[in-house]
């Protein structure tokens, strides 16, 4: 699919390539000045932040979940103890002479809500999912905030940047289920339009990252803890910071650099939940774990003491020229094509160096680059982009249906089914950002498209849908296929499966 200079075409292109897809009226709203609209979104105060004040910090969420588990465990232990006691008593009772009077007042009758009494409704049909526990609520509330940010954004350029950086510096909810959402809000969002160095620092000093990549238990061999026999140094985090977060693989660092950097990072840990009811799960620098003395990394000696040593290394890594190249390539690949135009990568690299890693300047460079407006639409949307574009195009999808899983749960299920479960990348390098791993999921996308089409067929006109979300991008073949569909449901499914809706 090639591009055109028609303003409406450019508006629709901007909404898909930079943003999260048009909502009803979006294309017309920015058609007079698509570039200006993108820049305006970058300038909106607090645009990258989540406004939901009810969300707890990552550390607090983790603590809340921890206490919940403690309580549950205590209940279970108490219950088991009681059962054991009863079991122990039963044979004695059998052997003992029959009690003269049954002591009725020591019999505990559990007061349990009777599910049958509670509802006369046909439970087989109107089955409600069980009430989520506090742990599930933490995750779902974070997921909801994440989805709402994406659905609300006018264009979604900033959200796309959030997603990009969140995936670049990813943690996994498989390891830190109650922190993953808070991590994105605390370490990523405040900095997506700020300096990369600050984001890297926030990420590296976030408990979610330190737990995810094992640094919280890394102990310097010559640290106080190390000297009394506690072992060992964990290189995982140091390696991933160099290989994934900053310089990029095979960019000149050695195994010795990794070990030295790992020593620098010892002491970057998390306050244990069990012993810190107030500040448990928060980041802390623990000097008892920290390897003392200067370290040499890539030829430079770091003489700083304590936590500042790590901060100094991170600051240098953040502005390293290999980091600039690495990030510029990833950014260009994400926004334009699996094989991005070298001139674009070069321009972004240069801009990163010139501005000391100012990410807002990089975003503006994207907007100003002709490649973003000329390149053919070959980039395959990842499942979360495709699902979000669908949701934005059809506000009716946001309606909750009583007795059915909530939109958040369905959104999570759909992402999982398509292989991109929210905040659960398969490895520390995040979800892949090229077509290869995703194209085979097309058949699953069709399944989802059919479910969605069924759900909205009463309220969505397929032709309107095509205009809302693709408008001038819609190819004649697509229009014909939608017009000739044998049902409204099929027409909607075809529109959602149009090649130009999968690609941007």
């Amino acid at each position: 699919m090639s591009t055109s200079t028609d303003p409406k075409f450019q508006a629709a292109l901007a909404l898909h390539r930079f943003g999260l897809g048009p909502k009803p009226g979006s294309i017309a709203a920015i058609a007079s000045d698509p570039r200006g609209a993108l820049l305006a979104e970058l300038d909106r105060p607090g645009v990258a932040l989540v406004s939901d004040g009810s969300l707890m910090t990552a550390a607090k969420s983790s603590m809340t979940a921890f206490m919940f588990r403690q309580e549950r465990m205590a209940e279970r232990i108490a219950k088991e103890a009681k059962q054991a006691e009863q079991a122990a008593m039963t044979p004695n009772m059998a052997n003992a002479p029959a009690p003269v009077q049954a002591a009725s007042n020591d019999k505990l009758v559990p007061v349990k809500p009777d599910p049958k009494a509670a509802s006369t409704a046909d439970t087989k049909v109107d089955k409600q999912p069980p009430e989520p526990n506090v742990q599930q609520r933490i995750f779902r509330n974070e997921a909801r905030a994440h989805f709402i940010s994406a659905n609300r954004a006018d264009i979604g350029f900033v959200e796309r940047l959030v997603w990009f950086w969140s995936n670049h510096l990813c943690v996994s909810a498989d390891v830190v289920p109650y922190m993953a959402g808070g991590y994105e809000r605390e370490a990523i969002r405040p900095h997506v339009l700020g300096r990369f160095a600050d984001m890297l620092d926030a990420s590296a000093s976030h408990p979610a990252m330190l737990i995810y990549l094992d640094n919280f238990r890394s102990i310097g061999p010559k640290s106080i803890a190390g000297l009394i026999g506690k072992v060992g140094l964990n290189e995982n985090f140091a390696r991933e910071v160099l290989e994934l977060h900053t310089l990029g693989v095979r960019s000149g660092y050695t195994q010795d650099d990794i070990i030295a950097f790992a020593k620098v990072l010892t002491g970057w840990t998390v306050l244990p939940a069990a012993t810190n009811p107030e500040h448990g799960s928060e980041f802390v620098f623990n000097p008892r774990l920290h390897e003392p003395g200067p370290q040499t990394i890539m030829g430079k000696v770091y003489n700083e003491v304590g936590v500042n040593q790590g901060r100094a290394v991170l600051a240098d890594l953040a502005r390293h020229s290999a980091t600039a190249t690495h990030l510029a390539h990833k950014l260009a690949r994400h926004f334009v094509a699996d094989e991005p135009p070298p001139a674009l990568t070069e321009r972004l690299t240069q801009r990163f160096r010139d501005t000391d890693g100012d990410l807002k300047e990089l975003a503006k460079t994207l907007v100003a680059s002709p490649e973003l407006w000329d390149a053919p639409m070959t980039k395959m949307k990842r499942p979360n982009e495709w699902l979000t574009a669908m949701r934005r195009a059809m506000p009716d999808l946001g309606r909750e249906i009583p007795g059915r899983p909530s939109n958040v749960v369905q959104g999570l299920q759909a992402r999982a089914r398509l292989g991109e479960p929210l905040w659960r990348p398969p490895q520390p390098e995040g979800f892949q950002d090229v077509q290869g791993p995703w194209v085979d999921g097309l058949a699953q996308r069709l399944d989802i498209a059919e479910i969605v089409a069924t759900r909205v067929e009463a309220s969505v006109d397929p032709k309107d849908l095509l205009e809302t979300t693709l408008g001038p991008l819609a190819l004649p073949d697509t229009r014909r296929a939608v017009a000739r569909a044998d049902s409204r449901q099929q027409a909607i499914a075809l529109a959602l499966m149009a090649p130009e809706f999968h690609r941007r």
Partner: protein, 413 residues
Amino acid sequence: MTLSLHAPSRRELIAASGILFAWPFLPRVARAEGRDPRLMVVVLRGALDGLALAAPVGDPGWIKLRGDKALTLEGKTPGLPLDGFFALNPAMPNLHRLYKAGHALVVHATCTPYRDRSHFDGQDVLESGFAKPAMAASGWLNRAFGTIEPEARIDRKGALGVGPVVPLVVRGPSPVLSWTPQRVAPASEDTLMRLIDLYQHSDPALARVLQGRLGLMHMASAGNMDALTPAQREQVAGVAAVRAYFAEAAGTAAKFMARAEGPRVGALSFNGWDTHIDEGAIDGRLGNLLGALDGALAAIETGMGPAWSETVVALVTEFGRTARINGDNGTDHGSGTVALLAGGAIKGGRVIADWPGLKEGDLFEKRDLKATTDLRGVLKGVLKDHLRIEDKALASAIFPDSGAAAPMAGLLG
């Protein structure tokens, strides 16, 4: 810790196809007469080619129109004779048997008043009961519920629920419950074919992926299910799966309606009748679908049991298809088509048609079988004689502006 994330079930994929939507009451008047009538409306979405279902073999223009695609009484797979003029598609032996037994009739050259050939609008008119599209958010069957005096509410235990998507024909102010068949609906091969066709021109990489899935489907329909992984088997559906699904959905819905405490009036729909390419009326895709529909009719008869004698099944579609075969060996959207009435309550064994002829000048806009019978009159006749709904309600609330289409008399025996 992991959240329990269940993947959407195939059940959720099937749309409303095959789901029974029923009125949860017993009709008082009919029961007062000592009858216990059942009415099942089956909507065939996609525009069924009525000429392929019941071919006018006695019309001299027929062979000229369809050439070697024309169903005749001769050849390798001859049609099943109905009345000397029409022959039934050989894929429908059960319907033929019911016809011969006086339990089924065909209304030919019929259509709603809609003539513009858009599926959405055509289905809208068919289901809303209004003369024009997009005039109502409720369906004629639902409004018919509203005029039937209810007796006892039926027992909904264990089976009826509120469906996720209620088709327009039963949508509206009266309560509707749904029942979903246990069997899993086949994946929509038709949608898949259309997407492959779409991708082939614009995005070959995507086409290859879906062709892979289609390949799995064909392996399955060739009987090589064992060669597939469970996940692959999930994705595929052959002819056998379609047949099984139609039969199970319709048959179990019938069993349900046959029960003493079951619903009496309901609707379901079957999709996939839009045969633009390689229609295969006799031994291809449409033939297979008609075979599946025939199996569904047999399953309804069996499922109804003794209640069959008081049953009317009305099978309707939004419009017909072009009288001629198109360049892709298919047919495009048309006008006149068939409606089928089956059931022990029907005075069957006949084809009801004010036959318009097939000469160029006889065809609607020189391309479609002309609709000479207003489908609303047929449905009104059924509602009137079977459920005792009054003329006034039929002509106003249920089928507004249908005064010209009087209830067809004598459909029931």
